[in-house]
């Protein structure tokens, strides 16, 4: 699976900051897009791919912290590195609690910013991968029959074949056949692998 190049989004109302950050990130091989306000950032369609948001706390209109909340609500998992000229502890706590990667006070060490951005990108990349896998499993899961799904669910909950057979009122041998089908269809290499997949698909908890 090939990944797009990561993009760093910079939102700051000070053009000089935007420009200098873009230049700095370019020097370490990172592509940056700059925005003067939160609204402007929300207004553009972002390319699919890993990324990181470098966000000024104090912005005209929607503030950086407001934008963070907005993105959380929209289930946008873009990692955020906050930068501010005058940060205080409550502001920092609030930002970090809401899942910010880092909170840097201007002027900051370039390495700190780059590390934070890299960390954010990696995090985003991992999250995206995870998300992609789950999506794949979901697709595979759709191909299962109803009985297979039942068996998958009970396997994922850790029940033995014998127990499953008793519960479903069929022969243990039949369960073995179903399990083999499930493993094959879900492309699981081992029983452990299948259980893990079941966990990701949230089948571990008994269905009502």
């Amino acid at each position: 699976m090939t990944e797009n190049r990561p993009i760093v989004f910079v939102v700051d109302d000070e053009p000089a900051i935007c420009l200098s950050l873009q230049r700095l990130l370019k020097s370490v091989g990172l592509e940056a897009q700059t925005f003067a306000s939160a609204q402007e950032f929300l207004g553009v369609k972002r390319p699919d791919g890993p990324g990181c948001l470098v966000l000024d706390v104090r912005l005209p209109g929607l503030s950086g912290l407001d934008l963070q909340q907005e993105l959380l609500h929209a289930k946008v998992d873009l990692p955020i590195v906050f930068i501010t000229g005058h940060g205080d502890i409550p502001m920092t706590v609030r930002a970090m609690k809401a899942g910010a990667v880092e909170f840097l006070t201007k002027p900051f060490r370039d390495q700190d910013l780059i590390d934070a951005i890299q960390h954010g990108i990696e995090k985003h990349r991992a999250a995206r991968l995870e998300c992609a896998k789950v999506n794949e499993f979901k697709t595979l899961y759709v191909s299962l029959t109803a009985r297979e799904r039942e068996v998958f669910s009970l396997v994922a909950q850790g029940l033995l074949n014998k127990q499953i057979a008793a519960q479903l009122g069929v022969a243990e041998k039949t369960i073995k056949v179903h399990r083999g089908q499930v493993m094959h269809k879900m492309k699981a290499e081992s029983l452990a692998d299948l259980v893990r997949i079941g966990e990701k698909l949230a089948l571990t908890s008994p269905k009502p």
């Binding site: 000089a16 200098s20 230049r23 005209p60 005058h86 002027p107």
Partner: protein
């Protein structure tokens, strides 16, 4: 006619003289004799008429008339005899004779018929005897009469004498009576007409028996209304409860006189302050016959007295130091508050003091050398003066007002009066206030400085951060074997620019710091607005903004620092311009208005048609770092408000503006 004419003409007869053949002697004899007869006959009737008119008692007097007529007619015939000597009017002469004949005949007939009656009259002899007798009697009578007259004369003389005495007496008596009457009249008229005194009589029981004009005027009753009424109706109800009317009469009856003052009621119920004298009236035997009552209306005097008492109480109870001194400086009076303030006990101590005794040592010279001469010259002086406490010697800060008292129109010597107030507490409060103000000024300065510092930090931090970023970028770019030198050059150029920008910020701050000691002058805000607008034409063009000004002509100047006020104006205008940069659907209009408020403040309004302020924004606009602008620093309004408030004004947004934002600020106009 002719017959009558013939009767009076001579016809053809010859005058009688021819018969005398014009013998002169004969003619004369006849003419003279006839004329004398005529004259005599004419005089006789006249005499007879005179006689009968005088003697109306003569009987048969009509006979005399007959005789008179007869004689007069005879006289006529003789006159005709003379006439006919020369004129031959014999017809007329005959007619006269015929008339005479008729008269003679009538008289003769009447006389014959009169005789018997005439004979019945007493004869003169009888009459003479009678007369003699009467004469005797008369004489006797005369004699008696004379005697009587003598006696009468004597008696008359006596009587005259007595009469004279009596008359003298009577005249004297009349005069006295007249005098008395006049005096009484005068007195009664005085009593009746006197206006200022109610004078009336009371019966022994107190019933009104007389009433004068003064009483009517003073008490409102007419005589017919009040006479017969008891005088207790002049009293107020509370006096009736204590039976005061009776008490007054009893006192008057016992001591002969009652005098007093008190409130009395008029007919209409209103009160008047009466001065009353009741005098008991007794007859010669000492029996009480009534009372006279004289009442004077002293309401005005009473009110004046009360007014005076009030004024006196004002002075007595005033918490201020109120005193009077002679022009020589001797204290005449000091009210209790004054005495308490300086530690004097009672008037005796007060009278022993002089003006300089009250003044603290430090101000003695000021009082004697400056203040008193000013008072003597101008009549008054007002200012601060330190007094001293007579017992403790402590200094008391006073605000003193000295002036001449006394009416210059009266003969009373003028005196020096003072009304002074202890301002020790005020002085302390002023001191405290001054200190508070200094503190406040300090706090304001610190706050302003804090805001300023934050602003400076922000303004410098931005370029500084960018510089650091650029420098780091350069470092990294230069770390690779073949760096993109164009990019590096650009970064370095930016670094230089940003450094310059930071330096400008510092310079601006320095300028601003210099101005923080405000140079307060009279500033025309219209001029400030014009100055600021002149500074920003580029901004206006760039943002396609039309600026509308409604500047009130003749705007009163405000006292302030021109540069600071320009900053405020610039800030508000820039805020307005920047808020409109994103507006596309309506005109970008910036309205700047100056007005004068009724309170004497100058009101400046800056209105834009920009994005406006929502409720949240409005509550935060003055917070440091709060901004709604893409390139704002969140400092401008905070600083602007500090400046406006430091000038005694107010800066606020209008919360219900429809489109855009409205900011107002007021500054007090110079008095």
């Amino acid at each position: 006619m002719e017959t009558i004419w013939a009767f009076f003409s001579s016809n053809d007869f010859m005058p009688h003289g021819y018969c005398y053949v014009w013998n002169t002697k004969l003619v004369l004899l006849h003419v003279i004799s006839d004329s004398l007869i005529f004259l005599s006959y004419l005089s006789i009737p006249i005499t007879l008429v005179y006689f009968i008119r005088k003697r109306r008692d003569v009987p048969f007097n009509w006979v005399f008339v007959c005789f008179g007529v007869f004689i007069l007619a005879c006289g006529g015939t003789h006159l005709m005899e003379v006439w006919t000597v020369w004129h031959a009017n014999y017809w007329f002469s005959g007619a006269v004779k015929a008339l005479t004949a008729v008269a003679s005949l009538a008289t003769a007939v009447l006389l014959v018929r009169l005789i018997p009656q005439a004979l019945a009259l007493p004869s003169p002899e009888l009459l003479r005897r009678e007369i003699v007798e009467r004469q005797y009697a008369q004489e006797a009578l005369q004699h008696a009469k004379q005697e009587l007259e003598l006696r009468v004369q004597q008696r008359t003389a006596d009587l005259t004498n007595a009469n004279q005495i009596l008359q003298a007496e009577v005249s004297q008596r009349t005069q006295t009576e007249e005098k008395l009457r006049r005096s009484e009249e005068r007195f009664r008229s005085l009593v009746e007409t006197v206006q200022d005194y109610a004078i009336f009589m009371l019966s022994p029981a107190g019933v009104v028996t007389s009433w004068n004009a003064g009483a009517q005027r003073m008490q409102g009753y007419k005589a017919d209304e009040i006479i017969g009424q008891h005088f207790s109706r002049f009293f107020l109800p509370k006096d009736l409860e204590t039976d005061k009317p009776k008490t007054e009469l009893d006192v008057a009856a016992e001591e002969g006189r009652f005098a007093g003052e008190g409130w009395r009621a008029r007919r209409d119920g209103s009160r008047f302050w009466a001065s009353i004298v009741i005098t008991a009236l007794r007859d010669p035997q000492g029996k009480l016959v009534g009372f006279s009552k004289i009442t004077r209306d002293l309401t005005e005097r009473k009110e004046a007295e009360e007014e005076r008492r009030k004024l006196a109480s004002l002075v007595e109870n005033s918490p201020d130091f109120i005193g009077l001194a002679s022009l020589e400086g001797q204290t005449l009076f000091l009210n209790p508050a004054g005495q308490a303030l300086v530690g004097l006990d009672g008037d005796n101590q007060v009278h022993a003091t002089r003006i300089p005794d009250y003044i603290a040592h430090e101000d003695q010279e000021k009082m004697v050398q400056q203040v008193l001469p000013i008072v003597m010259r101008d009549g008054h002086w007002e200012g601060e003066m330190r007094f001293r406490h007579f017992k403790t010697g402590k200094t008391i800060s006073m605000h003193q007002h000295i002036f001449f008292a006394g009416d210059p129109s009266s003969d009373h010597p003028r005196s020096l009066a003072t009304i002074s107030r202890d301002i020790t507490e005020r002085k302390q409060a002023e001191e405290a206030l001054r200190s508070t103000q200094a503190d406040l000024a300090h706090v304001t300065r610190v706050t302003t400085m804090g805001e300023l510092t934050a602003s400076i930090a922000h303004e410098i931090n931005q370029p500084l951060s960018a510089i650091v970023n650029n420098a780091n970028a350069c470092r990294r770019m230069l770390a690779v074997p073949s760096p993109d030198m164009d990019e590096v050059r650009q970064a370095v150029t930016d670094i230089a620019d940003l450094g310059t920008r930071a330096g400008e910020v510092i310079a601006r701050v320095r300028t601003f710091m210099k101005k923080t000691i405000p140079m307060k002058t009279q500033v025309d805000l219209n001029q400030v607005i014009s100055d600021v607008l002149a500074l920003i034409p580029e901004e206006r063009v760039t943002h396609k903004i039309s600026v509308v000004t409604e500047l009130r002509p003749g705007l009163p100047p405000v006292l302030g620092d021109r540069i600071q006020l320009q900053q405020v104006m610039l800030n508000l205008i820039m805020n307005g311009i920047e808020s409109m940069t994103s507006i596309v659907n309506r005109q970008r209009v910036l309205l700047i208005r100056s007005q004068v408020q009724e309170s004497g403040h100058v009101l400046v309004t800056v209105q834009d048609s920009g994005a406006g302020l929502d409720t949240t924004s409005i509550s935060h606009i003055f917070d440091t770092f709060y901004t709604t602008k893409p390139s704002g620093m969140g400092m401008g309004l905070a600083i602007s408000r500090s400046i406006v408030e430091a000038h005694g004004g107010r800066l606020w947004p209008v919360t219900d503006a429809r489109d855009g934002a409205i900011f107002n600020f007021t500054l007090p106009a110079c008095a």
